[in-house]
Symmetry: C2
Subunit: 315 residues, 2 copies
């Protein structure tokens, strides 16, 4: 296959955003569009919070907090600490700078903007030239089915710190949501899809399960990067979830998961070089490369490797 | 008259709150109730902001910002600076800690609490034992009539920095608002009212003009402290307003204003020692004392002087 000229990159939060930054350094705004999960979104303290859009925004602006691994650089916590002292909810650690983004988004939404429009206004102000497209402007909400009952995603992820054992997921609204027209239009002429190393269960699934996505993507070469490296997730609860779902926490099992649930979607798979011995166990064209991204150089190198990989795929 | 045993203190923002703190150091929660202006309240960025309640709250908690002269001690500005960078409104300088109070209040109000209940919850968390009573739980909103048209109070006060020349004021809702039942009950057996050195036009007026207040107060000895000292306001635009309203900016004129607009309300008047030569020009029992409060000791001394003054008034 030829090296693609126009890419759709699917991403969830912090992990996927690393590769997205790498792609943004190689490909211009006309060459790559970011399709982002919104199923982690929630309303909290009256604000519309979009954790994955914000993780990507901070990453692309290179304003992500590298010490914490989440949130915005140079963050302070006066608001949330004071709110706690006044008896308010402080389990979701909203930084003072981060609060401004949620407030601005909520204000724009309140004025009638779509999430796509509000996101465009905010990222432009942060100096980002690429398009960050929520997979849908309609609400999609992940419900985590767990041993303590059903939990809204942020209650599972932040409040309960992923402690409950999961048994499944439900994406309320995913089948009635309209695929973002910006993404639908991009899919008509893009020639490659990269699924960034995001959680397959709660970040990628609620993107690709939006009505019309898989059909529109069916003729486009698609490559996924494993978020599982050497049996663990670089970021987030993916490995823990797989164990609880009785799936081996391995890159091989991630590939099998995609093939079983979305047959025909993937044309290629990218695993880490440390999992090189698994190459033969994956029933897809697979490349092993350095996929752990510590530096900006690592991000760009993986992005370049993914792009080059398309031309190694059989036609 | 005897020295009163149970006081209602009327206050607006920062200026009045200084005397309120002094009173709180002498009188227990059963001996003084604070009735606070709510006509400066407004909704901003989706939050219910009550500037006068907050000024009093921070003063009583001794958490007021002494460097700025407004807001909370130890404040930072990451939120509002970031909001401005994202294209949001930043003319109202909401500090990071201050934001927490507005968020908590808004959340409590959203859950069905009255402003009185929300205030009680917040001040209890800040360690304040006295009762801070909004004059009403109903909305009262000051409209400033000016040479650039009608302005909502905070637009005049903060956004326009009091630059427009005022020609009058309107307090939307003041006649239909229900006097806070906590204040109404207190008025049935309190034996003294102190009007703190707050702006007579925009802080005191929208408290005492609430339906039923003046009638309930008519038999209670009442003393007002001039917010004008030596021709200027210690805090805020009172002196500038008086000039624009063609009233001399003087303590004498403040006394005359109260007597003309609220005949019979005042039994005594307190002016600063620097205005001592005006004593004979005021047609009310008047005392000149140090009314400029720089230290906590000054606040307590003025509070004590006001209380002692009642026993010097003719029966």
């Amino acid at each position: 296959m030829p090296r693609p000229q126009k890419i759709l990159a699917i991403t969830g939060g912090v992990g996927g955003a690393k590769l997205a930054l790498g792609l943004s350094k190689i490909l211009g705004p006309e060459q790559v569009l970011f399709a982002v999960n919104v199923a982690d979104d929630f309303t909290h303290l009256g604000l519309h919070i979009s954790p994955d859009i914000d993780s990507l925004t901070y990453a692309l602006a290179q304003e992500n907090n590298q010490e914490l691994g989440w949130g915005r650089a140079g963050e302070t916590w006066q608001f949330i600490d004071t709110l706690g002292s006044l008896g308010g909810e402080d389990w979701f650690r909203l930084g003072d700078k981060d609060m401004a983004l949620h407030t601005r988004r909520s204000q724009l939404l309140g004025q009638g903007a779509t999430l796509t429009e509000a996101t465009a206004e905010i990222i432009q102000r942060m100096g980002i030239k690429h398009t960050v497209a929520p997979v849908s402007d309609d609400p999609i909400r992940t419900v985590v089915q767990s041993d303590i009952g059903e939990l809204a995603f942020q209650h599972y992820f932040v409040r309960e710190q992923c402690a409950p054992a999961v048994s499944g997921f439900r994406f309320d609204g995913v089948h009635s949501a309209t695929l973002n027209p910006v993404i639908a239009a991009w899919l008509t002429d893009c020639d490659g899809i990269i699924i960034c190393p995001s959680n397959p269960f709660v970040s990628v699934a609620p993107v690709i399960e939006v009505h019309g996505f898989l059909e529109a993507a069916s003729h486009i070469p698609t490559v996924a990067v494993s978020p599982i490296v050497a049996g663990t997730a670089i970021k987030g609860p993916a490995a823990k979830m797989m164990q609880e779902l009785n799936i081996p926490a391995s890159a091989v099992a991630v590939a099998e998961h995609y093939q079983r649930h979305y047959p025909g979607l993937l044309n290629g798979f990218v695993i880490d070089e440390s999992d090189g011995e698994s190459l033969d166990a994956i029933a897809l064209p697979t490349v092993a490369t350095q996929s752990v991204m510590k530096s900006l150089k690592d991000r760009i190198a993986l992005a370049e490797r993914c792009l080059a990989f398309f031309s190694e795929l059989p036609t």
